[in-house]
Symmetry: C2
Subunit: 608 residues, 2 copies
Amino acid sequence: MCGIVGYLGHRNVVEVLISGLSRLEYRGYDSAGISVMQNDEIVSVKAQGRLKNLEAKVEGRHLDAHLGIGHTRWATHGAPSDVNSHPHNSNDGKISVVHNGIIENYMELKEMLQEKGYTFLSDTDTEVIPNLLHLNYEGDLLEAVMKTVKQLKGSYALGVICTEEPQKIVATRKDSPLVVGLGEGEYFIASDVPAILNYTREIIYLNDGEFAVLEGPALQLFSAEGLSVERPTTTITWNAESAEKGGYAHFTLKEIYEQPKALRDTMTSRIVPGQPIKLDDIHITREMLLHYSRIYIVACGTAYNAGLIGKVAMENLSRIPVEVDVASEFRYRNPLIDNRTLVITISQSGETADTLAVLRDAQTKGARVIAITNVVGSSISREADDVFYTWAGPEIGVASTKAYLTMLVALYAIGIHFAELLDTKTAEELDAIKKELLTLPEKVAEILAHVEKVKDFAQRIHGEKDVFFLGRGLDYQIAVEASLKLKELSYIHSEAYAGGELKHGSIALIEDGISVIAPITQRDLTEKMQSNIKEVVSRGAKVMAVTYAENEDVAKYADEVIYIPSTLDLIAPILAVVPLQLLAYYVALYKGLDVDKPRNLAKSVTVE
Amino acid sequence: MCGIVGYLGHRNVVEVLISGLSRLEYRGYDSAGISVMQNDEIVSVKAQGRLKNLEAKVEGRHLDAHLGIGHTRWATHGAPSDVNSHPHNSNDGKISVVHNGIIENYMELKEMLQEKGYTFLSDTDTEVIPNLLHLNYEGDLLEAVMKTVKQLKGSYALGVICTEEPQKIVATRKDSPLVVGLGEGEYFIASDVPAILNYTREIIYLNDGEFAVLEGPALQLFSAEGLSVERPTTTITWNAESAEKGGYAHFTLKEIYEQPKALRDTMTSRIVPGQPIKLDDIHITREMLLHYSRIYIVACGTAYNAGLIGKVAMENLSRIPVEVDVASEFRYRNPLIDNRTLVITISQSGETADTLAVLRDAQTKGARVIAITNVVGSSISREADDVFYTWAGPEIGVASTKAYLTMLVALYAIGIHFAELLDTKTAEELDAIKKELLTLPEKVAEILAHVEKVKDFAQRIHGEKDVFFLGRGLDYQIAVEASLKLKELSYIHSEAYAGGELKHGSIALIEDGISVIAPITQRDLTEKMQSNIKEVVSRGAKVMAVTYAENEDVAKYADEVIYIPSTLDLIAPILAVVPLQLLAYYVALYKGLDVDKPRNLAKSVTVE
């Protein structure tokens, strides 16, 4: 994780760095720090905790510099602390580095440097880099960086400054994201575009292994081999404002309420009744599809949970066998991949390290890869063979909400597209699904307009330590995601069980007064699910059900029932999860927690 | 669940019923009850809770009868209570019924009977049966039962007595197990063999839809159509003693310590280095295997957890794609099954209702089904096309231990067998695996001989509310089972995460002082797993690792390390789970819980 930012230009660099870091806090917020070039000396200020701690520390320093680098950290090596914060400097204070990624061989490098007399203050992997740069420095910072990264194993995006060349920032990346921003006689580096969107919309996406040298009024790019390269600039068209809270207490709540729009945007021009699904960036033919023996959906976290539903939807629609797996597990289990395999990777940020690694491995073994991602120009979107962009807009809240819903729509759209190519469903059947999908924005809006019961239930359970979710069929998959949401936002230990599995062990945990939450949207399974509810009720559980409008029966057993508008069973999960997102939000709110930035979590997991 | 027993003969029926129920308590223990024919009147005695409550109630009654039925209950409809206990009688007290299963249409039948003036005392589904029998009775109990079951939807094993025919027990079954026992001028019915093994070893397994009439000195069997049928008797060769505790404090502990023997028995004659795997009851040829496009492993609870490991092992060995699913989910999601599908079902008891249903559905769709089960003659073993019997011996502890380990061996053996048929591994590679498998009994015994550290750790964590398990690769699958074991036995809310998924949400739950348990047996993944451990340690977690003898590194990060003997990574899970079974046992012991009979659980889940 971690976020880095760098600036060189006419403005006060401290303001630019703090502003940039404030937009990158979603990448981690264990600590933050900056190094600026003040009268040809490096001044570093670092503080554990949120950015405001750093701001307080900087305030008294009256810094007036125009070149510098900054960092917001998500701890991997060494606990969150001042001393483990970035930037890290060489022993003589002449070189300063910000780093996003993990250096796998840092222990070995550290021992080598210690033998040469270098000392280390922190527990981080990063601190080897400034000292290694110092060792390699022979009067040219770019050359030193090029030599140094050859010695590094692992992933990194780096920003480096040096007192010997006080007008220069050198940046490079491998397996961690980095963009360069171009202003009027000023230059930026950043882990992600929002950090610098207040200042410029002209962006260059640096490729793996490339170097950027920002110096005085010029920018030069070099390939891994040190040859000068040219790269096009991209003009960012979306608005910085659109990533602001817009009147809501939290980004997370705002993003939950943006879901009707996000769904509508994602479906627009792609799903039209009476017409085939239109996916501009997916180029898979009927012949190719007939050739594939299997689809793997691979992702992490909430995107994996979307995949669980995608599997059921896609098998139902296209009758191609689909297997879903967690990226960090899939890549290490020698999966059966060949040129008859189609892989679908899902990642909101498009930078998730394990997912990106799966994409590359799969391509190496001959598979074709479709990416579902929310970020245009992200690593995953650039390297995939086909792309489905969810047009959810920037998602700032660490717990994914609107991105998740649009990922579901993406999976249904691809499933329908495959069904059209393979003729596994009639045009009428598919048209019925398309029409229902198009009603979802309105139905989600209806759910969002009536939240009193959800708030009441959140009030009731917010003091609890353990909560269980139960579901059958697609409701189980929804329960898994709803449980993750509650866990992430409220730190309540919640867990989701398949209704039929309860008796095979987990029911031992059901005791008097425990809360159980049960989505019930699958009409065929309603009776069986209600039997499971009776089992937990007879052991003292209090049950909240989320169910379709016509299911009056459940009110006999459940303590609280949230009704959602009717739709097809196949797509009902898209509705059922919405009140459960709200539940997680309000539980966290009543507990007084930081909803947008849950403890220990970061938005985009760009390390393994 | 539930267990039923019935007797007709020269002995005091009360003693036989209580003895039988005591051997069936593993099927449920929410309440127990008996109905006996005393001077041509039915006397029913019922008590909530364990069997000893019933015994106390019966003691003062001086019953002297020779025909009766008994029941031990696992609540599904209506809370555990005296009034909801079986047997249930008709309003006039002339018909008494014990029932195992669920009557799905009982509400409808109840309303119909209420309209006719019948009244109901309990909340159970069962109580409709004696009244429906009363309505249908026209002087012949067998005819009344035959007519009645035609009106029932759901699953049942029934034992019925009636004052009008005081020398008769009528029994029948559908989708719930029932055996008939034959003694010297005496007859028995029971849900399972151990209930009557003190009295007889001659057993008839009743088929679905069949009826048994026990009357005076005779036994008659009838088909669903009412035609007289003959069925062979089976002589049970195993010893009732072998199901006793044998000096251990609990069956569960005894069964954990029986694992070296269970493993040895299961491998004997099947796995011999230098020879092909020998599986007498599996008749799958190379040609058949080449025809299969996919294997599904389907099971519930611990057997499902065994399947998770089976998938990885089998794909690794045979390179056939394997998908694992929970039976209660699989059967309702319209899975892709045809005659190119091979299904492997796993069930210790061979009676698990959802698993049995999957077996039948799969066969209907043309698939071939292999059963892995511990019970010879069980429904699943009788209906499968091929069978692998785990020779673990009777498992009485509700939490499965030795059956799980032998299921793993079964899956590896089948995987090697397929690899031999398909030539996916060299004879040398397979021989190396066989040799290592054969060392497991000794290595498990070694683990069982050194339990001090496990006991210490159990002592330390037994007061905790939440515990997390972490693993990567096969260690994740082991973590899932270890977590279930802890949950079942100790009621601690434990949950297993894949190491790489931690950062995608669950790490929000890691706070100061929380316990994390990490099996680390996969050498390739050790470094990455240890990175994950550092992540939780830096957030305050206390970690216990279970790892292979050469891994000294982990002691730097973990608070406690349990070392297990070295073996191949592929089969290491079989060893790693053993100390974690013991951990679950000792935590429950220190909490003062009923280890052999965890609350809410039953051994064999014969309802959905």
